[in-house]
Structures are given as C-alpha cells and as structure tokens.
Amino acid sequence: MSRDDDRWELVRRYVEGVATANETRTLEAAVRDDAAFRLEFLRYLNVDAALGGGVASGRFETTESSIIASRQDEHCTVDAATSAHPVLVGRGVIQRRSRAFATVAAMLVLCVIGFVALWLRRDSAIDSPELGVALLSSAVDLEWAEETETRSIGAVLESGSLRLKSGAALVEFYSGSRVVVEGPAEFQLVSANEGYLHSGRIRAHVPPLARGFTVRTAQFDVVDRGTEFGVAVDRDAGTATSEVHVFNGLVEVQRDSVTREVKTGVALRCDRNELSELACDQTAFLREEELQERAAIAEQTRFAEWDAARRRLSADPTTVLHEPLTTRTIEQGSVVGCDWTAGRWPQKSALLFRRSADRVRFEVEDSLQQVTLLSWVKVDAVAPGMTVLMAVEHERVGSLNWLITQRGQLRLEVGRDLGHRQLDWEAINSESIVTRERFGEWLLLATTFDGLRIRHFLNGQPCGSGASFRPPSLQIGIAELGNGPAPAMKHLFGAIDEFAIVGRAMTEAELRDYFEKGRP
C-alpha cells in the first residue's frame, strides 16, 4: 500500500483536527469501503496512541540526560502536575507508580525544547510551495465573467485564466512585469513571466529584470526585450486576429519559427495568417497610470459611500459600540500593543494584530436581548485552535465569545449553565469561510443572535446558522478584540478595520447593504 497516496494526507489532516467536512467524508468512505486501508488506519492510530502514552509515562524517554543537564532554558515553565494520564480528583489522588518518573520526564522534555531547536533545525523545513504567479494589485469597474471566478484586489493569483466581462485590472507578475488587462478579455497566467491572451487586450510594462516576458496568442508569441508593448486579440467572426503594438523599446514576434523584431512606434497585425505592419496606436491600450487614476477616483467614491453608511450605523440608537477607525484612535476602549496600518482604503486606518500581546480592551455594560457582532477583518493566517475576534473577560451565563475555528469557521459561543462545575458554552459554527484563498482579503464578518437563532454572514451572505438556547440576557462586559483570556484562544493574526456591536439582530438585507457600501 503506497503511503504517498492522497488518503494518507487526509489521515494526517484528520488526526490534526483540520480536515474539512469534504475531506472527512472522503476519508470516511475509504475507511468504510477498503478493509485493508481500515486496518492500516487503525495501526496508524495505534502508533499515535502508544506514543502519547509512552512518552508521558517516560517509557520512551531515550534522550541522554547529560545533554539535558548541560543546558537550561530559562523560559521553561513546567506544571509538575501535568500528565497525559488521567488524574482522578475527589476522594484522594491516585498514586502512580510511574508518576514521579513521568513528571521528571515531562520536565526534562519540556526544558529541552530550547535545546531541541538545534536538532530540529537540521531537518529541512518542508512548507507547502507558493503556488502564486502574480498579484491582482488594482482594478477599475471590474466585472468578472463568472461570479465564482471573482478575485479581490490584493489577491494572489495562481496560474490559470482570468476572465473579465468588463473593466480593467492591473496584474503584477512575480517576475516584475506589470500588465493592464482590459475586459472583455480572457488572459491566462501561465507562469511568473508568461501569459497567453485568448481574447481582449493587454498593455505590458516589463522592467529590465523581467526581460523575456512572453505573451502568446494563437497567432504568434511576443517576447519582450524591453520595455512596453500592447497585445490585442479579436475573436469576432470565428477567426482570431492578433495585434502587437510596441510603445517603447523592442519585442520579438515569433511565428512558425520565424522571428521578427518590432520596434518603438510599430505595430504588427496577423489577420487570417497574413502579417502586416501598422502604425502603433497608444490610445487603444489603457495605460497603467490611467488605470491607477481611475482607481483612485473610484476608491474615493467608495470611501465616501462607506463613510456615509458608517455614520448611519453609528447614529442607529440600537448600536452599542462602533469603532470605524477613520483616524488612528479607538473611541471606546484602549489599544494594547497593536500597530496601526492602512485600512480598506488609504484614507483610513486599521489595527494590526501580530503578537500575543496585541489586543483592544473595551467595555459594554448593557445587557442585551439580541445582538449583531460585525467587523471588517483581514485574516493573514489561522492558527491551530481558536482565533479570537472578541472574547469576554468574565464568563457568565449569556456571555459571548466570537471566534474563528482552525477550519476557518465563524463561531459564536454563548455561556450557559448546565449544572456542571464550569460554565458550558453553546456554540454555533458557520461553514468554512476563512480559508487560505481568503487570507489577506478584507472580509465583512457578521454574526447575529435574535435570542432563538445564531446566524453567520460572510460579506453579507449567510454562511451557516443554528438554533441556540435563550439566555436571560446577553452579556459582554469587559472584553477584548483580537485576543482572549483562555489558553485555548489564540490571538488574531491579521487586521481589524472596523468593529461594531449592535443591540439587535440585523437582517441579511441590511448586512448585504453594509457590505456593498463598504467593500474595498
């Protein structure tokens, strides 16, 4: 049985607790239908279980004590009571035959983490390879051919086709080449320094280090020798016509193993296999500077639109807290640590969360019967465990924690009393929405609770809901943004551009509208 097949990757993700619903279903099918795989799966878990037990009991400890004795890590914190073995409390403590040894082993192992760093560095780190070839750095009036193919400004683009219905986009290839794509167009990103224009027009600026940037069409290949050119492919009437215009410098046009040099001011046209020279037309191809100018105007318009919308939200009598971050200040709380950074537009700011100390502390004294938690967030990475959007300091019945799970689900927890010693939490998760493809993108995350049902929204669209118990009231009290008190809660790794708590459950229409008015 090959250990490299995809199923074992699923097993790895499953035991780490990061498998998506689809991945779990796929693994489940394999376990159900393949008896031999089922057995191997159990053997794997057997090893995992045994390692856990063996290491904790000290049975497997083999590290030389002399290595450990010679090095003390001053950051070593050890809880001597920690043990993987169940400890029964109540009427007496279980005396473990191996417990003393287990404790010592645990201490030694934990202290050795600092030293272990040297050992581990010897192994080469294997990270998932970066698949991007370009960045979508700017756009104006952009409409995608398919809703599903929409990319956001700032998104990393992997190799594949960009299909624009209308508008224009600025694509920065990793090689440094900058291409303005004008819709309607289909432009395929082939690699970090190559594209294929199926239809539409592009204008490329190629800096010296990216010389050799190539744009292919059905008729010919254009290889840049510095610096600026445009390519247009017209697919009317069944046949394709390709043109290349050289605005500055020189390109090589290769066709049927014949290479022609085309210089500044000259254009070449291939129409039904006939090549002809024309005068180059600067105005027919959108310049990057023009795109940026129009983008800046569009940006200003969108900022103004959001500004009006956010004032309306602040003025809403049910709004309990609203931090629009239009300037580098928090009105109703205090910032600890966080650096300030640019927000959705250059005209506004956002708070950057990077370190374990970063947080915003605030207080909401009101008891609420309904709530909407709303925030424009940029998540740069999701840690294992729970990432905090908002967490309360004092946990009571009706307390609210707003989190992102390690699977990228939005999660609202409501404190409830089920008669256990510790407070229980009723929680509803959304679908997986904060996934890798959305890292680095500004997202409008919102969760509403009307006392009966918790609803999650991504960019104004519902993405999961569930019924919840009804607490006497909802409590926030003193709380933190982007960080939380419990050890299981990890701080946000990203940025927050706006945050609001509204004392009623906003409707889907309202949230969609707030998204439309505020999208960058």
């Binding site: 779990t24 057997n46 290491v55 005396q95 983490i113 998932s128 998760n429």
Partner: protein, 177 residues
C-alpha cells in the same frame, strides 16, 4: 484516605494500568484527534473509578472497561457531532469491530514500538519526545524550533508511518524466528 479505601484504590490502579494502553488505543481509534482521546480517557477513568465497587471480579475488568470506553466515546461524539467533522455511526462500528479483532496484534505492535523508536534518527526521536510530551503546544514548538507548525505536523506524520512499517517488520521477524 482510609486504609480500606487505599486498598481499593490500589486494586483499581493495578487493573487500570494493566489495561490502560489497550483502552487508550481503542478510544484513539474512534475519535479524530489525540486531544479528543485524552478527554474521553479522563471521563472513562472517572467512570471506572466511580463504579469500581460494582465490579464483581477482576477478570471482568477488561471487558467492562472497554464497554465504558465505547459508551463514553459515543457520548463524546454525540456532543460534538454538530461542530466537528466526525465519521458516521456505521463506520465507527466497523472501526470498533476491526479494533476488537486485532487487539493482540496492536498490543504486540505497541510493544515493538520501543525498539522501533530507538531506530529513529536522533532529530526524529527528539521531535517525537517533545511533540508527544504532555502540555506541549505545537505552535510554541514551531516558534522555538524556527519551523512552521505545518512542517512539524508533516514530519510527525512521516515518523508515524515509518514506525508503523518498522513494527510490522519486527513482528514478521518474530514470527519467522
């Protein structure tokens, strides 16, 4: 604790420790993560201790303990079915049955593990010892070792598979001799 209770406690401990590895492996096979298994084992241990007096004979302990483990696992899965991606009941039954059948093989493989661990290269062995230590957090370990958590997870995965292959070879060798 009173002397009579201490004795009871001792008897329980002896029995529990005897079967703990097998119980843990059984529980592990029915829940996704090690953390899940740890939580279930705590509940299992608590229930077994609470109801220890009801046990008529030490010979029944193993079967009884496995029964409790089965129930606690089901309860745990039920409570988390809403927000965890778990296998369906039918698949869990298949896994439990297969785990039951192969109990002795799995035990032999667990025993062979000690030898196989010694065969690991130093960096791998140290990684196992630190990653499996109680209370260790992968993100901290990642930060301190200058690697990403992802690379550590992948390394541990490869090590487990290597250990699986090794224990199989050890058992085959023992059968041959």
């Amino acid at each position: 604790m009173e002397p009579a209770e201490l004795e009871q406690h001792d008897r329980f401990l002896r029995l529990f420790l005897l079967h703990e590895d097998a119980l843990r492996a059984f529980v592990r096979s029915l829940v996704p993560t090690r953390e899940d298994a740890r939580e279930v084992m705590q509940e299992v241990a608590a229930v077994l201790w609470r109801k220890f007096e009801t046990l008529s004979s030490p010979d029944d302990f193993r079967r009884w303990a496995f029964g409790v483990a089965r129930l606690e696992t089901l309860e745990y899965r039920r409570a988390r079915a809403r927000d965890r991606h778990v296998f369906g009941d039918d698949v869990i039954k298949l896994l439990a049955a297969a785990a039951d059948e192969s109990q002795s093989v799995f035990e032999a493989e667990r025993l062979a593990l000690e030898e196989c661990l010694k065969k690991l290269a130093e960096p791998q062995r140290v990684l196992v010892e630190t990653a499996y230590a109680p209370g260790v957090r992968m993100d901290e370990l990642a930060e301190k070792s200058g690697r990403t958590a992802m690379s550590l997870y992948k390394a541990l995965h490869r090590i487990r598979i290597a250990l699986m292959d090794c224990t199989r070879r050890v058992l085959e060798r023992e059968v041959a001799t």
